[in-house]
């Protein structure tokens, strides 16, 4: 009796404008670019996908259910640049068949650097979701599904969550199935839902790949793969970027037709159903523990955090931004705090990644930079400006002048 659990990640960062060392103003974000990308994705993905899902929920009279995790930074952009998307999300929320998941408001890596900031951002996100959609999330997902035993313990200690979502990475499952629920070896009540990456990636990455021997992927075929889980698992977790529909996979690949047919095909088998993460957690017991001593994520084949922390520039940039936390918070300046937090969005560090750069990889998606070096330079220039705003300017220049003078004379 496999349940199918869909969760869609919905996120766009506040991309930075080109900011040189000579810039002095406090406008860090590329309003034009963010607006145009937001509207483009809204038209290609968010609007048609939301409408399709709304229709499916109505058509199946509540038997089709999905979950979303929408970042705070995207919600802010949608409210300003594409309010029509907000009303469709609102309509989805009111069906009662849609669950909203909690994450850090700024899609940040704060868990790794500041637990206080991490919690602040989760609460900010939950408050926003509650205000907008009338439900308080019960399940947590960390940025890019970054997870470890420590994260489970942190979430457990917050006492407000029933479950946490992460990647069903081979290295933590050791041959076991991602289609069961797990617990952390450190105990506690929260259950862990693991992404079935094989089936998720069939839709998210391989759907339009003509070189793939299963191409073209039809809803009927996909349902057969889901049915095979019957008797050997509780829930098939299909977790993916929402941009899969219409943006990563363009409409002309047939992705929307696939989405429209899938519930019919899945529900054709009497044992199957759809559940949201909270419903899956309520319905099924955890069968085993899953030990994750070091960090995992859903990124790349490595399934680790090297995409954000793989080189010296990235660790330097992250270190610099979190080093400022107390200084920023002491100023009590709300705009400054918000700017600083928007700079924590993981995408900024992802753009600095050098590991796939030479191969001209798919990761360049919506990457506003020509190179990771440009991205780091831009980020550091902004950090320099933010630091000056705190009134804590490193006053070394005078001493340096004298040193240089000595050398020159």
């Amino acid at each position: 009796m496999p349940s199918v659990c869909f969760y869609f990640q919905v996120h766009q960062p506040f991309r930075l404008r080109h900011y040189t060392v000579f810039d002095k103003d406090h406008r860090y974000f590329d309003i034009f670019k963010n607006k145009s990308i937001c509207q483009k994705v809204a038209n290609k993905c968010y609007l048609p996908a939301n409408r399709a899902i709304l229709d499916l929920i109505k058509k199946h009279e509540g038997r089709f259910r999905v979950a979303y995790s929408i970042t705070g930074v995207l919600l802010e952009q949608l409210m300003e640049y594409a309010p029509e998307v907000m009303s469709t999300f609102d309509a989805l929320a009111r069906t009662g068949c849609v669950e909203f998941i909690a994450e850090t408001y700024y899609h940040s890596l704060s868990f790794l650097y500041s637990r206080g900031e991490f919690r602040d951002q989760i609460f900010k996100h939950m408050d926003t979701i509650e205000t907008l959609f009338g439900q308080r999330p019960r399940v947590f997902r960390n940025t890019e599904l970054i997870y470890s035993n420590d994260l489970a313990a942190e979430i457990e200690s917050m006492g407000i969550f029933d479950g946490v979502i992460t990647e069903g990475a081979d290295k933590i499952l050791c041959g076991r199935s991602p289609n069961f629920l797990y617990k952390s070896p450190r105990g506690g009540k929260i259950k862990i839902l693991l992404k079935n990456y094989a089936l998720s990636d069939d839709i998210a990455f391989r759907f339009s790949n003509r070189g793939w021997n299963e191409w073209p992927l039809m809803a009927e075929k996909f349902s057969k793969w889901v049915n095979r889980v019957n008797g050997n698992g509780y829930v098939v977790n299909l977790f993916m970027d929402y941009e899969t529909f219409g943006e990563h996979q363009w409409a002309d690949t047939g992705i929307f037709e696939f989405l429209r047919q899938l519930p019919d095909e899945i529900l054709r088998h009497p044992d199957n159903n759809f559940k949201t993460p909270s419903e899956a957690i309520a319905s099924y017991p955890a069968t085993d523990t899953v030990d994750v001593p070091s960090l995992i994520s859903w990124a790349d084949t490595e399934r680790d955090v090297s995409a954000w922390l793989g080189n010296a520039m990235q660790s330097n940039a992250l270190h610099e931004i979190y080093r400022m936390e107390q200084t920023i918070k002491k100023t009590g300046d709300k705009t400054l705090l918000s700017d600083w937090r928007k700079l924590q969005t993981s995408d900024h560090f992802y753009y600095m990644c050098t590991k796939w750069f030479s191969d001209g990889d798919v990761h360049k998606y919506f990457n506003p930079y020509d190179s990771p070096y440009d991205s780091y330079i831009n980020f550091m220039n902004i950090i320099g400006n933010i630091e000056k705003r705190c009134g804590k300017k490193p006053a070394k220049s005078r001493t340096k002048t004298t040193e240089t003078d000595k050398i020159l004379n």
């Binding site: 520039m313 070096y373 040193e403």
Partner: protein, 434 residues
């Protein structure tokens, strides 16, 4: 396979990247078993004939050709030289003064003007045009004594020779474009040189371009069909020190930003200074070193003074060998702001010496390098922004150095040589078919 190669310069007699390229390419070719006869124009002005190499000096100064053995590591290569004052980066104007200098030096050498030397003007034609043809006819004479399968001519001065040799031998001609008149002179092209280039490109059976940037110029400016042009990137000799070995830590924290190349319009020295001026607005512990010489040297020195940054810019003149290594050792960043750079071997050498580089997007080498900083040559603001970043943020310098040094090792002359060999096979086969 035997190659009759017509070149301009060869180490140690170099003034730019062409000699380095010919050296690296022929060395790798000889490893592939290709036999090469390398024909080189060389002025016989004695002051320049210093004892860098084991050179058989011509006993008879009137002889138009001489052979010498050089660099034993390169097997399969014979060198032939033709007396000629041709220099790769000369303009027609500098050529005439060059000739006068040459004649004067020959008179000094012999101490008196003998009967023999009276016809010295007969040896050296008064203008570049006839000189190129004189070089061509000498090359033909040489070619008649040699056996070869293919002719390979490097850059415009040897194209006429290439065409002539192809005509008398019936062998296919490959021309190798390291630079075009549009790169050297912008829009103010010398019509004579353009004509030589155009004729060479049209006569060639196949053209090798050092980058897609150059290929595009060949196609758009010289009326050549794209399928006739193959892109073969240059490589780099593996002589780097490896990571951070031998880098000297200096007591003072003065940063060094390096320009190393000919100080000519093509290399964009004024943009380097424009960026320097901007950088000095926000930091002062920086020194800008301009290593090289060229026809814009005087103007560039004046410009530095005009900008009020004269004390921060150091002109070293043309550097070679050990001095180049030393200046790389001190440099925090190498900048190549070229206006139009067909390839640009110098940034590869900088990377090989563990120096991060900032190159203009208007360079062929930017097609192959990813772990470098890039900017449009005219965008001095952005160039300055990137220079400051490298000097201010050590992790940037570190990452660029680590990845750059690794990346540059993948650019091998062996690969370039193999691609040339493929081109030879193609033209030889075509020639047989006809």
């Amino acid at each position: 396979m035997k190659v009759f190669m017509l070149g301009w310069e060869f180490p140690p007699f170099i003034s730019g990247g062409l000699g380095t390229a010919c050296y690296g390419l022929t060395k790798a070719m000889s490893k592939l078993g290709l036999e090469i006869t390398f024909v080189l124009p060389r002025a016989i002005r004695n002051e320049s004939l210093s004892s860098h190499i084991n050179l058989r000096t011509p006993a008879d100064i009137k002889a138009s050709q001489t052979e010498w053995e050089i660099q034993k590591e390169i097997k399969n290569i014979k060198f032939k030289t033709i007396d000629s004052p041709l220099k790769p980066y000369d303009t027609a104007e500098t050529y005439s003064s060059e000739i006068e200098e040459l004649i004067r030096s020959k008179q000094r050498m012999s101490g008196f003007v003998s009967e023999e030397n009276n016809d010295v003007n007969g040896h050296y034609s008064g203008d570049m045009y006839t000189e190129v043809h004189r070089y061509a006819s000498a090359a033909v004479k040489l070619a008649l004594q040699e056996n070869f399968d293919v002719i390979h001519a490097h850059d415009w001065m040897t194209y006429s020779a290439g065409i002539a040799v192809a005509a008398v031998s019936g062998k296919p001609l490959v021309i190798h474009v390291h630079s075009t008149e549009f790169d050297r002179s912008g829009e103010h092209v010398n019509q004579m040189i353009y004509n030589f280039e155009r004729a060479g490109m049209h006569a060639a059976d196949k053209i090798i371009a050092v980058s897609y940037l150059t290929k595009n110029i060949i196609v758009s400016r010289y009326g050549i069909s794209g399928d006739k042009v193959e892109v073969v990137y240059n490589g780099i000799e593996k002589n780097g020190n490896g990571l951070s070995l031998g880098r000297v830590e200096l007591d003072n924290d003065e940063k060094i930003v390096l320009f190393l190349g000919r100080i000519t319009m093509q290399k964009g020295p004024e943009y380097f200074l424009g960026a320097a001026k901007k950088v000095l607005e926000v930091m002062d512990n920086v020194r800008f070193v301009m290593a090289g010489s060229g026809d814009m040297m005087k103007r560039t020195i004046e410009l530095a003074a005009q900008l009020g940054i004269g004390s921060k810019v150091l002109f070293t003149g043309f550097l070679r060998g050990e001095d180049v290594r030393k200046v790389y050792e001190r440099a925090d960043l190498y900048v190549m702001p070229s206006v139009s750079e067909p390839f640009g071997i110098a940034p590869l050498e900088a990377l090989n010496n563990d120096v991060p580089v900032l190159i203009s997007k208007q360079s062929g080498v930017s097609e192959v390098l990813t772990h470098v900083l890039k900017a449009d040559f005219w965008d001095v603001n952005e160039m300055a922004n990137k220079i400051v970043a490298v000097l201010k943020y050590p992790p940037l310098q570190m990452t660029l150095r680590e990845h750059g040094n690794y990346e540059v090792r993948k650019l091998k002359w062996e690969d370039a040589a193999e691609k040339c060999r493929q081109v030879y096979l193609q033209v030889v086969e075509q020639a047989v078919c006809v």
